[in-house]
Symmetry: C2
Subunit: 231 residues, 2 copies
DNA sequence: CATTTAATCTGACTTAAGTCAAGGAAAACT
DNA sequence: AGTTTTCCTTGACTTAAGTCAGATTAAATG
């Protein structure tokens, strides 16, 4: 156990999915769920594994991906802390339809399927929360889908950068920036391209004086142009 | 009113979402929902319209689409009968994030947001049903996303054709076939390409003796090859 | 049924982005 | 610190699929 029980309960509170549960329920959840820690690049589960439950990322970074018949992997979700992943098959039956692997050392909360479904039957409030969460993800997947088919790589990269800047909270600085904590190859796959093309696109945006790259940091010189590209 | 009330209630029963509701609840739903009929090519709602509720297609065909900033439309959902659409914003707030338009003369059941949410609070079984439905769609969107980024047009078309053949129930015939009820332009957009490319791809599959096209009917000559292409 | 309108096809051309191959840079690991 | 491994970049080339323009066919409508 890497964090103590009280800390865990207050962390569970921060998870949108569980934000409105009573102390009682939080205790219950923490009683049947397990903290699991993973090293960098460790596999959490493989596509096709027997489904036993879902995870909430507490700390670190995780990629959720599908592997095509030709072995090419495409990342469908870059998980950030306090977000659930692999919760879809809870209601679908079957095995894990995707694989998950850490991008850095990570801490997760594992929630076993059966116990959780029991709880959800008793506590309908949770299902409404989950519906809201699923709705949000459906919407974002639909957007991703539309972007992928109607926009080019520079547009998709711009959109990704803007999202990251919003998360970083540096949006209103004279030079908003982000620090990449994941390899560029993961970004490439996530926005639906390959590393070579991504590398060239980064260069292109630099040539156009829209961004400035310094190691793992990307500074936005011209936010207006970036937003223009993204929409 | 184009179908009588009893017929309507038994139709509602066939909708997966409502399949396990009591007569009481079915009556309730049919009391506050409205049958709306639409002509061919009629707009049901536009992207950005104020959200008032969702629809269930009873008869006909509907496309759900997003329009990019450059005016290019991409179809995110080809709705077939007994399927709900525009139900995502129920839990998300905001306006309609997509537009919907009929592809042929259609009959829908309109279910107003507020009334439905009231019902769902009282009847938690519905939310579990909806969760299952959302989970299924999330999974299918993830698959679409993966296909779009890892596969080429012929592969995507093959996959689409196979899905339609499964629906048509002719899978085990010596020559499985489907009858296109929607314009090819809709298929093109749905699989993420344009009509010209789709036309050439159809030709390619014909040259390779995988399919045979006769008007609006597509016959599969070589199912094995088609499946090979799709995976 | 004739004529307007919409859908589909075909060809010539362009282009974004993928593949292949090779060097460099940065990180991780004794 | 030095070496191995992973990550990133660059160049030359190829290709799938998009754009543009025009022709053909099918469908809708008076």
């Amino acid at each position: 156990m890497l964090i103590d029980d009280d800390k865990l309960k207050s962390t569970i509170r921060d998870i949108p999915l569980f934000s409105e549960l009573s102390i009682e329920h939080l205790r219950k959840i923490s009683s049947f769920s397990k903290i699991k820690s993973f090293k960098k690049h460790e596999i959490i589960f493989n596509e096709g594994d027997f489904y036993v439950g879902f995870y909430i990322l507490l700390k670190g970074g995780v990629k959720v991906f599908k592997t095509s018949s030709k072995g090419k992997e495409s990342i469908v979700h870059l998980v950030s802390p306090l977000t659930a992943f692999a919760d879809i098959p809870l209601f679908e039956g079957g095995n894990y339809p995707v694989g998950a692997q850490t991008l850095e050392e990570s801490l997760t909360l594992f929630i076993p399927k059966e116990k959780f479904l029991e709880l959800i039957y008793k506590e309908p409030g949770i299902s409404l929360k989950m519906l809201a969460g699923f709705a949000k993800r459906l919407k974002s997947l639909i957007n991703q889908l539309e972007d992928l088919s109607s926009k080019e790589v520079p547009n998709r990269l711009a959109k990704y950068l803007l999202k990251e800047i919003r998360i970083s909270g540096t949006e209103n600085l004279p030079e908003p920036f982000i620090k990449l904590s994941i390899p560029k190859s993961a970004i490439a796959s996530y926005i639906g391209t390959i590393t070579e093309t991504l590398s060239r696109t980064f260069k292109k945006l630099q040539d156009e004086k829209i961004i400035r790259v310094s190691g793992k940091r990307i500074f936005v010189i011209d936010l207006k142009k970036l937003k223009e590209l993204a929409k």
